[in-house]
Amino acid sequence: MRKCQVVTREILLSVRDITVRFGGITALNSVSFDVPRGGVCGLIGPNGAGKTTLFNCLSRLYRYESGDILFEGNSISNLPVHRIASYGIGRTFQNLAMFRTLSVRQNIMIGAHCRSRSGFLSSALRLRRVAQEEARLMARANELLALLGLGDVAERPVSDLPFGIQKRVEFARALAADPKLILLDEPAAGLNHEELADLTETIRLVQSKLGITILLVEHHMGLVMGISDHIVVLNFGAKIAEGTPAQIQSNPDVIAAYLGAPAAAGTPVQPAQPVQPFHAGAPA
């Protein structure tokens, strides 16, 4: 297990007292936590605990009733949705949100939208810099295709691809924006063991080599416990625990609300286990 370095790291994201209500339902109840720069932060909790809702707040898709969110010390509460990406927060979606008719490559290139400039007029007239930029995006997309092993399907429309591959495309798309923070919503859902190993490796790579901070929502305990430096636990919209994986795993509240007794037979909970590195391809 990795050493936890929370204390020494600078705070990248700070969630302060966020409350979200839908009609009578309180989806998030005054949730606060910090995510330090550079690590992997797990966010877990039972179904309907408010994890995705929190992500939606971070990407400004949901409005929160109170509280504030600071990113690199600045509040993002008043930013419009489309500014979030260029601020450096990228994400994937729990139920996929792909541009169905476009190819994998084009999906990834759209990911880099906020890192490109050419506007309507310059595009219409096909100025030189537009072509240069396009070439740059293309090269970047190729790198990411290679990084995520999507080279074979680059020209296929995403709607034809199996779920697991689409999830990878989404990951690549989020990376294309050169984010500082990536929000991953259940990236391991629907993956088998081997694929999971791949994913774990990719996440590590992204975190270590690209220096991207990761906020990870996941029900796969093997992944979460194996990869996170720090874990936040939500239940019924409220934060019930926070700490290192070891602390979380032995926290009785978390066990009662979420993990279940580790010893109980027939439960799917697997002990945190080191996942073998599998993916050898280095990022460019």
Partner: protein
């Protein structure tokens, strides 16, 4: 023991792309069979072929009756319920309407009402949300709804496409407990696609391993879980 389901030489296509190649599979009445395989191996397609949602060739028999060429609706009315991948929620309808729809092909109103109550006991979260638009449920909540909706049909054969998908650990245990009980008490047969192979092999009597649309191994779960390749790719130990 009678064969509830027999699949012989099944091919399946999306448009002109073939995704299943001469698949053979069978399932005994009251048993549970698991299908394992990598992303894109054709697990979902197999379940879809069973419901005649994709174009198929070959033979599929339920209770000895061939269903190739029948409409999905007719297959469902033979007692086949499907928990589809992606959950298939009627997003604009309320939770309760989703449950009612699950019982659409049944005629026993009073019994349906009781079953809805039963569902609410199993999943109190759904009861809290009964009037809420189902599309606003969280991913895991929608998965509970999808399973409950399929059970509303009182099926004889339940097709489960990754029922643990997006479900929190405790709830996975809960759901598999429920499924086990239904299997034992109502003798509902199940065809289970599940990425959590440990869980699946533990739960099922038999298992099939698919690779690019072909069966590469099959047999009793215990035997399959001993297979070296399976252990490496699916069990990780």
């Amino acid at each position: 023991m009678s064969k509830l389901l027999e699949i012989r030489k099944l091919d399946a296509y999306y448009g002109s792309t073939q995704v299943l190649f001469g698949l053979d599979l069978e399932l005994d009445q009251g048993k549970i069979t698991a299908i394992l395989g990598a992303n894109g191996a054709g697990k979902t397609s197999t379940l879809r072929a069973l419901c005649q949602v994709v174009r198929t060739r070959g033979e599929i028999r339920i209770d000895g009756k061939s269903i190739i060429g029948r409409s999905t609706e007719d297959v469902v009315r033979m007692g086949v319920a499907h928990v589809p991948d992606g959950r298939g929620t009627f997003t604009a309808l309320s939770v309760e309407e989703n449950l009612k729809i699950g019982a659409y092909s049944r005629n026993d109103k009073a019994e349906v009402a009781r079953d809805i109550e039963k569902t609410y006991q199993r999943f109190p979260r759904l009861k809290e949300r009964r009037a809420q638009q189902a599309g606003t449920l969280s991913g895991g909540e929608q998965q509970m709804l999808a399973i409950s909706r399929a059970l509303m049909l009182h099926p004889r054969l339940l097709l489960l496409d990754e029922p643990s998908f997006g479900v929190a650990p405790l709830m996975v245990a809960e759901i598999f407990g429920i499924l086990r009980r239904i299997n034992l008490e109502d003798r509902v047969s199940m065809l289970l696609v599940e990425q959590n192979a440990t869980l699946a092999l533990d739960f099922a009597d038999h298992a099939y391993l698919l690779e690019t649309g072909r069966v590469v191994a099959s047999g009793e779960s215990k035997i399959i879980s001993g297979d070296e390749a399976v252990r490496r790719s699916y069990l990780g130990n």
